[in-house]
C-alpha cells in the first residue's frame, strides 16, 4: 500500500509533488477496482451471450459455480485484505448458507424465502461466532476459525437429519421472481446472468461499506491496531462488524449453490473449501475485492483445463500459489490495479 501511495506522484512528473492536490488514495484504489469489475462484468455478459448462442450448458454452469465461489472468495478478501485477518474456516459460513438454503428450498421452493432465511440466520451465526473468533489475533485467529469450522463440519457430517456424509440431495428447481419476470434456476444462461448480478450486488455492498468511515477504521486497524482506540474508535466493534459482513456475504454466496447443483454436501464446510477461497484471493489479489472474481475464474479454468489432462491439478495450483505468495504478494490485481489507478489519476488531474 505504501508504494502505491507514491506512484501517482511519480507518474505525473510535470507537477511538483507538493502541488498535487491531496487525493484520496483509498478512494482511488476502490474506483480502480470498480473499473476492473466493470471489465469483468462485460466479459462475463459476452461469455453468456456466446454460451447461449451455441446452446452450451456445461461451461455456463461451470462458470456459474466459479461466480458463486468468487462471491465466497470476496468475503475472505474482506477479512484478509481489509482487516488483515486470515480465516482458515470461512467455509463454515459458505456451507452454512448452502445448507440453510437447501433446507428451506426442500420445504418451499421460494428463492426470496431462502435468501431471507440465509441472510437472517447468517447474521446471527456470524455475530455469535464472531464474538468467539475476535477474542484472539493473528495466527490464533486463523486457528480459531479453523477449529470452529472443523467442529461444525464434523457435526454436520455425523448428523443424519442433515444427510450426514451424503449431504442433502433433491433440491428442487427454483423459480426466481425478479418483479419484471421469472427465471428458472436450471436455465444455464439466465441463471448465470442472475448469479453474476447477485455477486456483483454483493461486491457493491462490500465496496460501499468499505468506503464508509467504518471501512477506513478497518484499514487503520490493519496499519496499527493499538493506535486506533486512541483516536476514539472501538476496534472490537469494527472488527466484529467486518467479520459479520464477511460471514453474511459468504452465506449468501453459498445460498446459490444448491440452486445450481441441486444438492449440498459436507465438503462445502471442509477445510479444502476454505483453503480454496484463500488461494483464490491470494492469486487474484488480496485487498482488491475484484481480485476474488478474477482469481476464481483463473482457478476454475486451471482446474478444468488441467483436469482434462491429469487428475493432479493440485501440483500446478499449489506451485502457482507458492509463486504468487513469493513473487507477487499482491496477486494479479496487485499488478493490474496500480496501472488502472494511474490512468484514473491522470484523468482526474
Amino acid at each position: 500500500m505504501r508504494n502505491i501511495t507514491a506512484s501517482p506522484a511519480s507518474s505525473a512528473p510535470a507537477a511538483a509533488p507538493a502541488a498535487i492536490p491531496v487525493r484520496d488514495q483509498l478512494g482511488l484504489q476502490m474506483r480502480a477496482s470498480h473499473v476492473l469489475m466493470a471489465v469483468f462484468v462485460v466479459a462475463a455478459v459476452a461469455f453468456a451471450a456466446i454460451g447461449a448462442a451455441i446452446g452450451d450448458t456445461f461451461f455456463l454452469r461451470l462458470a456459474t459455480e466459479a461466480l458463486i465461489f468468487a462471491g465466497f472468495a470476496l468475503s475472505v478478501d474482506i477479512l484478509l485484505g481489509f482487516t488483515g485477518l486470515l480465516s482458515l474456516g470461512h467455509a463454515l459460513y459458505f456451507g452454512f448458507g448452502a445448507y440453510v438454503s437447501a433446507l428451506v428450498l426442500k420445504e418451499t421452493p421460494s428463492f426470496w424465502l431462502a435468501i431471507g432465511a440465509v441472510l437472517a440466520s447468517s447474521l446471527v451465526a456470524g455475530f455469535i461466532t464472531g464474538l468467539v473468533a475476535n477474542r484472539v489475533r493473528g495466527v490464533y485467529f486463523a486457528l480459531v476459525t479453523f477449529g470452529l469450522a472443523q467442529v461444525v463440519a464434523k457435526a454436520v457430517y455425523n448428523t443424519r437429519e442433515l444427510g450426514a456424509s451424503d449431504g442433502l440431495i433433491g433440491v428442487p428447481i427454483v423459480p426466481i421472481n425478479l418483479g419484471v419476470g421469472t427465471l428458472m434456476s436450471n436455465a444455464p444462461a439466465a441463471f448465470f446472468l442472475f448469479t453474476l448480478g447477485f455477486v456483483v450486488v454483493l461486491y457493491l455492498i462490500a465496496a460501499y461499506l468499505l468506503e464508509t468511515p467504518f471501512g477506513r477504521i478497518l484499514v487503520a486497524l490493519r496499519a496499527n491496531e493499538s493506535r486506533v482506540p486512541f483516536l476514539g474508535y472501538s476496534t472490537r466493534s469494527a472488527r466484529l462488524a467486518a467479520y459479520v459482513l464477511a460471514s453474511v456475504i459468504a452465506a449468501l454466496s453459498g445460498a446459490l449453490y444448491p440452486m445450481l447443483r441441486g444438492f449440498v454436501s459436507p465438503e462445502l464446510l471442509f477445510f479444502s473449501t476454505s483453503g480454496n477461497a484463500v488461494i483464490t484471493v491470494v492469486v487474484g489479489g488480496v485487498g482488491t475485492l475484484a481480485g476474488a472474481f478474477y482469481g476464481s475464474i483463473i482457478l476454475t479454468v486451471l482446474k478444468s483445463v488441467i483436469g482434462t489432462m491429469t487428475e493432479h491439478h493440485l501440483i500446478v495450483i499449489g506451485l502457482l500459489f507458492i509463486g504468487t505468495v513469493i513473487f507477487l504478494p499482491k496477486g494479479l490485481m496487485g499488478v493490474v490495479r496500480p496501472w488502472v489507478m494511474r490512468l484514473l489519476g491522470r484523468r482526474a488531474s
Binding site: 488483515g84 486470515l86 484472539v136 486463523a142 486457528l143 477449529g147 464434523k154 483453503g275 500459489f321 513469493i326
Partner: protein, 297 residues
C-alpha cells in the same frame, strides 16, 4: 466387580494403551510443529506432509530391503537436508515481510498441497502398509499389549525426552532458546540466527519424518495421511501452548486419552468434534495454552 474388571481388561485398558501409543506419535509430530513455531513464529501447514514423506520413504526403502532399525536413522537423516532446503529456499524468502504469520502460513499451505499431490503421482492413491517390524504381544497383568506398540511408546518417549534434554539442557538448546526469545539480541551476541532458524526447521521436519517411520506399520500409509494427522497435532500444540515442549507432551497424552475414551463413551465419530471444541475453547479462554512458549519461561 468382575464385570468392571472384565470391562477394564478387555475394553478400557486396550483402548487407553492404543490412545497412549497414538499420543506418543502425535507428540512426536507436534514437537516439530511447536518448536518451529516457538522459534520462527511460523505455522508449518506442510508439517503433516513431511510426516507423510517420512512414512513413504520408510515404505519404499523397506520394500527395497532396508531394515526397519536402519530406517529410524536414515529417514530423519534424509529429512534434515530437505527441511533445511525448504527453510532456506522458501520460508526465508518471505520471512521478513510485515505479516510473516500469514505469509508463511500461506506458503507452507501451498507447499503441503504440492507435496501431497506429488506423493499421489509417485505412489498412487492406494493405502499401503509395511509389515510390522516386531511381531507378537505380551501380557501385562491380563492386558494384551502388542510388542510393536510397546516399542513405539518406549522409543517415542525416549526421543521426546532427548529433545527436551537438548532444548533445555545443552548449549545448542540455549542458543535456540535465546534466538526464540530475542533474535536481535542473540544475533548481536554472535549467534548465527539464520543458521539456527534453518537448522531448527530441519530438525522439526526430521522429527515429523521419524514419526512417519514409526507410525507407518500402525496406521498405514496413504497420500492424505498427513492432512488427517496434522489436525490432531495442531490441536495438541494449541492446547499445550504454541512453542512449549512440556505443554505439547502433556496435551498430547491428555487429548489422545480424551479421544480414546470419548470414542468408547460417546461414539468414535464424535471424538473429532469434541477435540476441536476443546481447541476452540482453549484458544478463547487461554490462547497461550496450558504452558507458555519456547524461550519465554
Amino acid at each position: 466387580m468382575t464385570a468392571f474388571l472384565d470391562y477394564f481388561q478387555f475394553v478400557l485398558a486396550p483402548q487407553m494403551i492404543t490412545g497412549l501409543s497414538l499420543g506418543v506419535a502425535v507428540v512426536l509430530v507436534a514437537l516439530g510443529l511447536t518448536i518451529i513455531f516457538g522459534l520462527l513464529d511460523v505455522i508449518n501447514m506442510a508439517h503433516g506432509e513431511f510426516y507423510a514423506v517420512g512414512a513413504y520413504l520408510a515404505l519404499s526403502l523397506g520394500f527395497a530391503g532396508v531394515s526397519f532399525w536402519l530406517l529410524l536413522i536414515i529417514v530423519p537423516a534424509v529429512m534434515l537436508p530437505l527441511g533445511y532446503i525448504v527453510e532456506r529456499g522458501l520460508i526465508q524468502r518471505v520471512f521478513n515481510k510485515p505479516d510473516r504469520h500469514v505469509t508463511t502460513l500461506l506458503l507452507t499451505f501451498g507447499l503441503g498441497l504440492v507435496v501431497e499431490d506429488v506423493l499421489k503421482v509417485i505412489f498412487g492413491g492406494n493405502t499401503q502398509r509395511p509389515p510390522t517390524p516386531i511381531s507378537g504381544a505380551i501380557d501385562i497383568m491380563g492386558v494384551l499389549l502388542p510388542n510393536y506398540r510397546l516399542f513405539l511408546i518406549l522409543f517415542g518417549l525416549a526421543v521426546i525426552a532427548a529433545v527436551a534434554l537438548v532444548v533445555n539442557r545443552t548449549r545448542l538448546g540455549a542458543v535456540v532458546r535465546a534466538a526464540a526469545f530475542d533474535r536481535n539480541m542473540a544475533a548481536s551476541l554472535g549467534v548465527p540466527v539464520s543458521q539456527v532458524y534453518a537448522g531448527t526447521f530441519a530438525f522439526g521436519v526430521a522429527l515429523a519424518g521419524l514419526a512417519g517411520v514409526l507410525l507407518a506399520p500402525v496406521f498405514s500409509v496413504f497420500p492424505t495421511m498427513g492432512r488427517d494427522f496434522i489436525f490432531l497435532a495442531f490441536t495438541v500444540v494449541i492446547v499445550g501452548g504454541m512453542g512449549s515442549i512440556m505443554g505439547t507432551v502433556v496435551a498430547g497424552l491428555l487429548l489422545t486419552q480424551v479421544q480414546a475414551l470419548s470414542s468408547l463413551i460417546v461414539s468414535p465419530v464424535w471424538s473429532d468434534p469434541i477435540l476441536f471444541s476443546i481447541m476452540v475453547l482453549m484458544l478463547v479462554v487461554r490462547p497461550q495454552g496450558l504452558f507458555g512458549r519456547l524461550g519465554h519461561a
